[in-house]
Symmetry: C2
Subunit: 259 residues, 2 copies
DNA sequence: GAACGATGTTCGATAATGCCGAACGATGGA
DNA sequence: TCCATCGTTCGGCATTATCGAACATCGTTC
């Protein structure tokens, strides 16, 4: 596949995505030095993006930040997601039943992104945030998605990742992780036991589309102290059932030959 | 101001924004005919946008839709908005008090966009949607923002608008509207009485920043039947108070010489 | 208050590259 | 099987995005 990509659009994308990495206002100088482009080039791109509402300039310090047009577009994306629409009532019911925080993520192009988060009644401060990426190797949802990839996809995805240790319990050995993924695939759900954040435990199950491909996952997250074996035994079938019911709404048909 | 904008970025923006206008999947053909560009040009731009995650192709019908990268970026924008963060608890309190739906909008570059919406306990199906634009001439928030513009700004903004009638009560006469705006400015709040949707009544008040410029507005929306004069008299000071308290959090200082 | 530094903005020349038209490929329907 | 439709590739040309340098603007220092 010999792509012929358009340079200036890529540069515009580079600039926009710089704001994802830094999460602060950036000056022309900042951007040009970080990307290794001349000030005037960056200036031209930025002014175009500003003109179209993709960036906005702070009139006090002349620095730039992401603009409202992206808010508008981003919001439209979430409405496009049938998955979100279908899953919302099911997730709501799950939160009511389990009294804990539930997440919905989608998987696309090797990335796992939180698209819905419904807090349980009890407070829980955790990493996850709608719109942010989830690591694939140390979250319940990431591992659930990874485990159900077809063929060499697991290896491909893991070769692009460097198994960053978030806590002392994060699996950083590739062999070990792959074995663990096979186990997850057999049992049909995944557990994250303080692998991304100390004191946090999650149970997750994969969601499939009508092609039997994994398109996302849901998880229930709670402090480890509230997640004992009894609770776990109670939560697991609920989450699997919810995931299955979402999958069926996406057109997924249970295939007896697969398992 | 002799802008030197970058064509291919503008074209990319044109394509992305086409999805705002049509809200459906679009094919290469659709896009090229709607924009008057050759198929190959559109193809190049689209593939670049897809490569970067700004569009995604439906593998079944080869059509495109907005991609997850925009979701990620758009979500980051909303977090950038101090206004949203500051206003949320105040809005929540307002909904509790009034038991009706409250909106928060921002004003930027002539556009009014809903950035927060908190439903009251009683159901209410209305036009507004987070991320969508609000018309300026026939919504409470739009008129509140318009009324407090400086100098010739009102005329400039209205000259770009064609006062589209949404209902039989929408003001479509420019002179009449401008008089009405002066009145709103004097009384400090605006009312929308079935001007955008039959049966819907809103009260709105403007939000100012530390430069005394209007940066947004909040409104309370309810079915007209629930919004009688008694309720109105009760709601107006609450909404004005909430708006003022948000303004003060934004650094706004009440200026006695202004009123 | 003048000189300086740092950064944003403008401008002209040039080489790169994005654009179009035409051809090719793939798919589905008649 | 042929045809129609649409997505994709390719080569040549003219457009235009890029860079460096100059200019503007702001804040700071002495």
């Amino acid at each position: 596949m010999t792509e012929r990509l358009i340079q200036s659009i890529e540069r515009a994308a580079d600039i926009l995505e710089l704001f994802l990495a830094y999460d602060q206002e950036l000056s022309v100088k900042d951007i040009s030095s970080k990307l290794g482009l001349s000030k005037s080039t960056v200036h031209g791109i930025i002014k175009t993006l500003e003109y179209r509402g993709y960036l906005q300039q702070n009139k006090d310090d002349l620095k730039y930040k992401l603009g409202l047009k992206l808010f508008e577009l981003g919001n439209r994306v979430s409405h496009q997601f049938d998955l979100g629409k279908i899953a919302r009532p099911i997730i709501k019911k799950l939160v009511d039943e389990l009294q804990e925080t539930v997440h919905l993520v989608v998987f696309e192009r090797g990335e796992v992104i939180y698209i819905e988060k419904l807090d349980g009644p009890r407070a829980l401060r955790i990493y996850s945030q709608v719109g942010k990426r989830a690591p694939i190797h140390c979250t319940g949802v990431g591992k659930a998605i990874l485990a159900f990839q077809e063929g060499e996809e697991i290896n491909r995805l893991l070769s692009n990742t460097n198994l960053e240790p978030y806590t002392e319990y994060t699996m950083t050995n590739k062999e070990e992780l792959i074995n663990h993924l096979h186990f997850i695939r057999e049992q049909g759900y995944s557990i994250d036991d303080e692998e991304i954040e100390l004191g946090l435990k999650c149970v997750a199950a994969p969601i499939f589309d009508h092609h039997q491909h994994v398109i996302g996952a849901i998880s229930c997250a709670a402090p480890k102290v509230r997640m004992d074996d009894v609770k776990l035994a109670e939560f697991i079938p609920r989450i699997q059932q919810a995931a299955e019911s979402i999958s069926q709404s996406m057109g997924y048909k249970t295939n007896p030959t697969l398992l």
